[in-house]
Symmetry: C2
Subunit: 195 residues, 2 copies
């Protein structure tokens, strides 16, 4: 077995994710990708198949990370505080640059819904996983009495998700920390999840 790969695949994948996340699918040209990933054209096609396949891989990775970022706190936080933790961790984090990129799944759904339905639906399905996670948490919490709300867990999850989507647009429109903080606060107050 001669000559192993001279680049770190997962590092290259991360670089691609970063670009796609910031600029979207169409606006990210191959030369830009290659430069950011630090690999040659042929290595690119050998390792990732095509731009589209790479994009799917990035989307999958982004979705997985996002979900993990929430789910990781399930054991240490009461379910009513999960939305706040999610919002604050992603919107009030140090890097304004990253916040200004919004959510890659939201960006992709909007960019591609009338252009590449398959990609758009894939991104949407990843968003649904997050909503389902919230719904499951709220269900558990309500049956165990840890959360009291006159709304059904499903409705609550839907509302959290709608506000989340709205926040992702807001964060792309204006990533200022105080601005987002104020919206997060009043949104959670509205939801009765002040904790």
């Amino acid at each position: 077995m001669p000559r192993s790969a001279q680049f770190d695949r997962s590092q290259a994948l991360n670089a691609a994710l970063k670009l796609f996340w910031a600029r979207g699918y169409s606006a990210t040209a191959l030369p830009d990708l290659l430069q950011a990933m630090g690999i040659a054209r042929s290595s690119f096609y050998a390792s990732f198949g095509s731009k589209r396949e790479l994009f799917i891989e990035c989307l999958e990775l982004f979705g997985e990370r996002t979900l993990q970022g929430i789910a990781a706190r399930e054991d240490s936080l009461p379910p009513g505080q999960l939305p706040r933790a999610f919002f604050e961790n992603t919107l009030l984090e140090p890097s304004r640059q990253r916040v200004a990129q919004g959510c890659m799944m939201v960006n992709s759904v909007l960019e591609l819904s009338e252009v590449d339905a398959e990609l758009s639906e894939f991104a949407a399905s990843r968003l649904d996983l997050i909503e389902s996670f919230f719904a499951r948490c709220f269900t558990d919490a309500q049956t165990s009495g840890a959360l009291d709300s006159q709304r059904s867990p499903k409705e609550l999850a839907q509302l959290v998700m709608t506000i989340n989507l709205g926040l992702r647009v807001q964060s792309r429109k204006n990533p200022s920390r105080e601005y987002l903080q104020s919206i997060v606060d009043s949104s959670l107050d509205l939801l009765g999840l002040t904790a």
Copy 2:
């Protein structure tokens, strides 16, 4: 003065708006535009300057129409019902196709924020006009006693807008009528704007 234009400029503009609205800026190619608008290449550049200028004009038109769609009801509806009227008129309208296109301003902010800051900020400024309209309405209503809420008008307008943005993503993700209806209902309930 010989030979007047042989096409209806505003009709062509509307056709362009439709395409840009559905597919976004980059994904809308010039040949597609020309065909939809029913004009020749040279007429296009003579009348609209460039693809980018045309896009701005469409964005302006879309923003104007959206704002008018809300403001037109200011005199006939109590201010607390303006958000519901806005949501229902745009999300529960007969054409699923149009609903699935979401809001052109939201779409543009997300598509272009890291690609063409000027266009993105222009779209964002048009969204701000809508938020300002709500803020003004709520202010008037609160001083006249027509609206009672423990929230400030500005905060209320911000929340309505955040939910609105979330709904525009939802509508692109899943334009189904019942789905959107349920989110609209619970959102307005949440805001205390059931009326």
